[in-house]
């Protein structure tokens, strides 16, 4: 993990910009889908202990809806689009005019719709990032889960497991103005991807 300890403020800024560009495009896509303005928080780039990763979305046992994509290509990594249950219901309501019935779980159609939304947003995040870095980043077929945040996010941390007890993640939050529909993007590049990203952007790690 020594590589990450030595990241300087400038390098962290570069990663923030990576999050900014990706999420900026995804926010635009979401805004078009919803036909409403969507705000984006300032990206956070942090080296977080495994224990704390799930705290970012309400704690290890918090139930969240997550769309997961594995990113393949020159800078592989894991990507999550995470919505709270409230936000997921609002999104279904606004986009598909689907009224979610309380306590009935999610139907296959609802899950499929949410999975597709995650796919579109993650796709626009990654394609803008690929353009920016000129690295190939190809998302896998998306999959969706409604489960405990800890169980879901730990899945994206495995590549870090063999190196230490913390993971580097680039996090961006969306807020859709009036109804405070909040969503989180986590891009967790594999440990070996950082050098490639920096190199592609002309950052000298020397």
């Amino acid at each position: 993990m020594s590589l990450f300890d030595s990241f300087k403020a400038f390098e962290l800024d570069v990663l923030k910009e990576v999050g900014n560009i990706g999420a900026g495009n995804a926010a635009t896509a979401l805004s078009k889908l919803l036909d409403k303005p969507v705000d984006m928080g300032v990206p956070k780039v942090s080296l977080l202990p495994f224990e704390e990763v799930a705290e970012r979305v309400g704690g290890s046992e918090q139930i969240v809806l997550a769309v997961f994509l594995r990113v393949e290509g020159e800078a592989p990594g894991n990507m999550f689009f995470i919505l709270g249950e409230e936000a997921a219901k609002r999104m279904l309501n606004q986009l598909m005019s689907m009224n979610h019935v309380e306590d009935e779980g999610y139907s296959e159609l609802e899950l499929s719709a949410l999975c597709e939304i995650g796919n579109i947003l993650a796709g626009s995040y990654l394609s803008s990032l690929a353009d920016f870095t000129q690295l190939s980043m190809v998302p896998s077929v998306p999959s969706i889960a409604l489960d405990m945040a800890g169980a879901i996010l730990s899945y994206g941390l495995m590549q870090y497991g063999e190196m230490g007890d913390s993971a580097m993640l680039i996090e961006t939050t969306f807020i859709e103005d009036y109804q405070s529909l909040e969503g989180h993007f986590f891009l967790i590049p594999d440990p070996d991807s950082f050098n490639k990203i920096f190199k592609a952007l002309g950052v000298d790690l020397g």
């Binding site: 594995r70 489960d147 945040a149 169980a151």
Partner: protein, 163 residues
């Protein structure tokens, strides 16, 4: 619930408990929550195992609680120091799920591999696996009661289950 001491076990962490204290670990996905219990002296141990084998470790300071092949021996030592005897121990396991159904690569089969590796280690030490709730595609939170030796498993889809 009735004023029992709760001992939290984090991710890639292990701990022991006695005197009726309860061991708890949350949000097990592909990780395995393994518990060992000596029913005579009521000493319990829990490990939240993240990866099957320490042979892949690239870290400078290895966290032995993270890997099945190093966490189990360490847990045994800690329990022995607390008075437990290996020949009386019995094991229970939960977790090792496959959270997302994506084909192919080895990382994605990490849950089942964690379970296999834990089972193998327990066999080596001759510790019987009394019960397990592993696999599936959902997360689990577990609590182990060091008085009764019962493992309580909570999940979003299936509610509460005791083994």
């Amino acid at each position: 619930m009735n004023g029992q001491l709760l001992v939290k076990v984090g991710m890639a962490d292990l701990n022991i408990a006695a005197d009726g204290a309860v061991l708890k670990t949350t949000g097990l996905g592909s990780c395995v929550g393994l518990t060992l219990f000596d029913p005579i002296c009521k000493v319990a141990g829990m490990a939240h195992v993240m990866l099957p084998s320490s042979s892949i470790a690239r870290e400078s300071q290895m966290n032995i609680a993270k890997y099945a092949d190093t966490a189990i021996p360490e847990l045994l030592e800690r329990m022995k120091a607390a008075g437990a005897r290996v020949e009386r121990m019995e094991a229970k396991m939960a977790g090792g799920a496959q959270m997302f159904a994506l084909g192919g690569s080895d990382t994605l089969r990490i849950g089942p591999r964690n379970v296999e590796s834990c089972t193998e280690m327990l066999n080596q030490f001759g510790i019987p696996i009394k019960a397990q709730d592993t696999g599936g595609n959902y997360g689990r939170t577990i609590e182990f009661d060091s008085e009764k030796g019962i493992l309580v498993i909570r999940s979003v889809q299936y509610g509460v289950k005791e083994i």
